[in-house]
């Protein structure tokens, strides 16, 4: 006796609702499990994206060209004199959105009251605005206007630490190529805000030509920061640029420049699967229990069906179908619930209450959950495949019943 699929489906559906309370409970468990998986992943992604964003703004750029000794010894001695025509050409690649040639040296900034270590950036404002500085971050005053601008743009938090205000003069001190003190007074013309205090206290911006004159260096720069179009895949311009550089210079992408960031991104990618599996393992106990109970209650009934000539394969598929229906409804509701709960949060979650902790992890104070269709698919597939596998055990047992023994069970 072979039943059409529609008849098996009807049987499975009705069996499912014989004990509707049990079915609803396991359904709720699946819905909550799936929702938790997707929601947690969206939060994790938001966190990591925020970290990468902050990290790339801090670097800045997706890749940087340096003198090959600069990263070991960030002194003005290790600077980039001039790029070869081939390298210049490589920077013109349409996939490169912007690049900025900057002087970058450790320096001491002092006001009347205090002094702090900072990174002094000598920039060309026309280039820098697309790379390390966003004009919307400007809190007051103005950004630099040219490479000869004698003004200084500092972070709001640094201003506070130095106990000075915009419009006053501060002194920057560093070392020239002969290791002698190089210093100059600058007037603060602009104040910017950043995601983290650490960033605000780290970078000060001045005109490139002014900094080069102060450091008694020629037209050299310390680094060329390059922004491509997206951080995950940098594209062909990176190897092209790498090939075009002479042996004295090197280009490194953000993964090489900031190993912590790379690790964070890799952990996140692995974590999506780990989280899905953990939640599923908990879920599967409930699922297996439900199906085992459903089979156990119906031993006589299954024996009768077998005695009437139903094939074991049909019994197997009927019980598997029950599991499939249960899982599908659960997945549908779980995914829907996840989308519904994440959409209202897309505008960002304010973390300023734990700003200090967030800052330690290099995160911004606003968390934007990121819903990836891939994450939803992945968790759905994991639940579906593993769910069916766990229904297979009770289904297999039911299809192997001996009709006589089964009928005599009371």
């Amino acid at each position: 006796m072979s039943l059409p699929l529609s008849a098996i489906t009807t049987l499975a559906w009705r069996n499912l609702w014989r004990n509707h309370r049990r079915t609803l409970i396991i359904l709720a468990a699946i819905v909550i499990g799936v929702w938790a998986m997707i929601f947690m992943n969206a939060m994790m992604r938001g966190m990591i994206d925020g970290m990468v964003d902050t990290g790339i703004t801090m670097l800045p750029g997706h890749a940087q060209v340096h003198h090959r000794d600069y990263l070991d010894d960030p002194s003005v001695v290790n600077s980039i004199a001039a790029l070869s025509p081939a390298a210049q050409q490589a920077l013109e690649n349409p996939d490169i959105e912007a690049w900025s040639a900057r002087v970058r040296v450790p320096a001491i900034i002092s006001s009347e009251r205090d002094n702090r270590g900072v990174i002094l950036l000598g920039v060309d404002p026309a280039q820098e605005l697309g790379v390390g500085f966003d004009s919307t971050d400007l809190l007051s005053g103005r950004f630099l206007e040219s490479v000869d601008d004698t003004g200084l743009v500092v972070g709001a938090s640094l201003l506070e630490k130095l106990e000075t205000v915009s419009g006053r003069r501060v002194v920057l001190m560093s070392q020239d190529p002969d290791n002698e003190v190089a210093e100059r007074g600058f007037r603060i013309v602009g104040v910017y805000e950043a995601d983290t205090d650490a960033q605000e206290e780290r970078f000060v911006y001045a005109g490139r030509a002014v900094v080069q004159a102060m450091l008694k260096m020629g037209p050299e720069v310390s680094e060329i920061a390059i922004v491509g179009n997206g951080y995950r895949d940098l594209g062909a311009w990176l190897p092209e640029l790498r090939a075009a550089l002479t042996a004295d210079y090197q280009v490194k992408d953000w993964r090489e420049l900031d190993g912590y960031l790379e690790m964070a991104v890799n952990i996140q990618d692995g974590f999506v699967v780990i989280l899905a599996v953990i939640i599923f393992v908990v879920l599967s106990f409930g699922l297996v229990n439900t199906m085992v109970m459903a089979v156990f209650e119906r031993i006589r009934e299954i024996g009768l069906m077998l005695a009437l000539g139903m094939r074991p394969a049909t019994i197997l598929s009927q019980i598997l179908l029950e599991g499939l229906i249960l899982l599908s409804i659960g997945l549908l509701l779980g995914n829907g619930l996840a989308v519904l709960s994440i959409l209202p949060l897309q505008s960002g979650i304010d973390l300023s209450g734990i700003a200090d902790a967030a800052e330690m992890a290099g995160m911004a104070t606003t968390l934007y959950p990121v819903l990836h269709i891939n994450d939803m698919l992945l968790s759905s597939v994991v639940v579906l495949v593993l769910g069916l596998l766990s229904t297979l055990l009770p289904a297999w047992r039911a299809s192997r019943f001996d009709p006589i023994t089964a009928l005599n069970k009371n």
Partner: protein, 251 residues
């Protein structure tokens, strides 16, 4: 020196209405005060007292200067600190600590740090001539006190000067003794000041023998330098301002 003083006073009287000339004179006054304090060469024995509300320590030291660029200071007591030295030569600064037997070139990053724990920063010690080169000077007041003419000079740093102060005010007596040096911030608040508390005549010159540096916000914390002996325009050995002499005292 007397003739110079008379000429200067005359110049000041005659030209005080001309701003440009006045600026030069104010600068000249400061330069003369510095030269008066230093001579072409000098040798000094002094003590430095660092006072805090809960502790106080005194170090004795000797020092030599040559022009405005070269100087050597060496601590002679207490025994714990004896031998610590500082050499200044052409805007560079080295310090020597016998306990670790090392000479360290003081890097730019340490310029704002305290010199031997006192209220002077390394920069105060190193860049004394900044007052001449990095500022615009203006004579703001001339007054009479105890039979001396007293000049009050306001010095405003150049726009790109490596100076954090909004202005400095220097009070100089007509015998070129610097009575007071004030450091004002850019909001016109007095931050710190160095006062001359005692003036004596030694080796034929009137010199400030007790000077105290203190911050306005913390008047009970100060550093006081007391001159014990001072000699001017003496012959100094050619190898005095060298790293080897910083390490191995030969004087």
């Amino acid at each position: 020196m007397n003739i110079q003083r008379v000429i200067l006073a005359l110049v000041l009287l005659l030209q005080s209405s001309w701003a440009a000339a006045q600026a030069t004179d104010a600068k000249e006054l400061i330069r003369l005060a510095m030269d008066h304090w230093r001579g072409s060469t000098s040798y000094v024995e002094n003590t430095m007292t660092i006072h805090r509300p809960d502790w106080e320590r005194t170090m004795s030291m000797v020092g030599w200067t040559e022009g405005s660029k070269n100087s050597l200071m060496r601590v002679t007591g207490p025994a714990k600190d004896a031998g610590n030295g500082t050499l200044l030569k052409d805007n560079n600064m080295w310090s020597y600590t016998p306990r670790i037997n090392r000479i360290i070139k003081v890097p730019s990053s340490m310029m704002n740090q305290s010199w031997m724990g006192s209220d002077f920063s390394n920069k105060d010690i190193n860049k004394a001539t900044d007052l001449l080169e990095q500022y615009e000077h203006r004579l703001v007041e001339t007054r009479e006190q105890d039979g001396h003419a007293i000049y009050v000079i306001e010095a405003i740093p150049h726009e790109d000067a490596a100076v954090v102060w909004g202005k400095e005010v220097v009070v100089i007596r007509d015998d070129f003794v610097m009575l007071r040096q004030e450091f004002w911030d850019q909001a016109d608040v007095l931050v710190k000041a160095m006062d001359t508390l005692e003036i004596k005549s030694i080796s034929g010159r009137t010199v400030a023998t007790v000077m105290r540096m203190s911050e306005t916000a913390t008047p009970d914390e100060w550093t006081q330098v007391t001159i014990g002996a001072i000699e001017f325009d003496i012959d100094l050995p050619g190898n005095l301002f060298t790293l080897s002499s910083l390490r191995n005292p030969r004087q």
